[in-house]
Amino acid sequence: MLDVMYFAWVRERIGLPKERVETQAATVMDLVDELRGREERYAAAFADLSALKVAVDQELAEFDAPLKGVREVAFFPPMTGG
């Protein structure tokens, strides 16, 4: 079980900020592929991964990061702080 979080337009496109996902995905990319297969709104949100960033357990990570032992994955567009 993973907590999956969405921020900014990813959250808006998918329509929720957070969900619990039952998955055996080995990497972030595997998780993305599972989510894409669910519904059109997920496919739309994950259409262009170059426009997205991912954090694994609250640390920025790459899409090939492993999910073993991970509790929280977050997807969002590039940050615009400052």
Binding site: F7, A8, F76, T80
Partner: protein, 146 residues
């Protein structure tokens, strides 16, 4: 070192004055204050979303990196989230050092990293609708300076 992530407005001048009482071996203090700019068509509101579980930790990591690179007596970072209007203060960074070069470089570095590596997202609403502020290639490029 202090990092504050908050919804409430803050008084940048009062923060600067409090931060300046940081010890008698400090020769220079650099501050950066980020303000909400108005946009074409008139900004109704800027809404800043963040990732609470990650934000303070990400900022603290950036501050630690600055402290490792430069000789700093103290660092302050305040960043707001929620709804802001044009002219309001979004955030502030301050660095205190014995010598000005360290204070300048560290503040500049902190801003570059907060811009692209702290989990905040800005959405601007004008009379024409709402749009997420897009990150700029130049902001990502700025990180390569360090």
């Amino acid at each position: 070192m202090a990092v504050r992530v908050q919804e409430e407005a803050f008084d940048a001048g009062a923060e600067l004055n409090a931060f300046s009482k940081t010890g008698t071996d400090v020769g220079g203090i650099v501050s950066f204050t980020g303000l909400v700019r108005d946009v074409a068509g008139g900004l109704d509101v800027m809404e800043i979303e963040h990732y609470p579980a990650m934000t303070e930790r990400a900022i603290a990591g950036i501050v630690s990196e600055a402290q490792a690179r430069w000789s700093l007596a103290d660092v302050l970072v305040i960043h707001r989230f929620g709804k802001l209007r044009a002219g309001e203060t979004i955030m502030m960074v301050a660095t205190a050092s014995k010598h000005r070069a360290d204070a300048f470089a560290a503040a500049d570095f902190l801003m570059d990293y907060l811009k692209s590596r702290a989990p905040f997202w800005k959405k601007e609403t004008t009379g024409e609708g709402a749009a997420w502020v897009e990150s700029k290639a130049e902001d990502e490029d700025a990180l390569k300076r360090w």
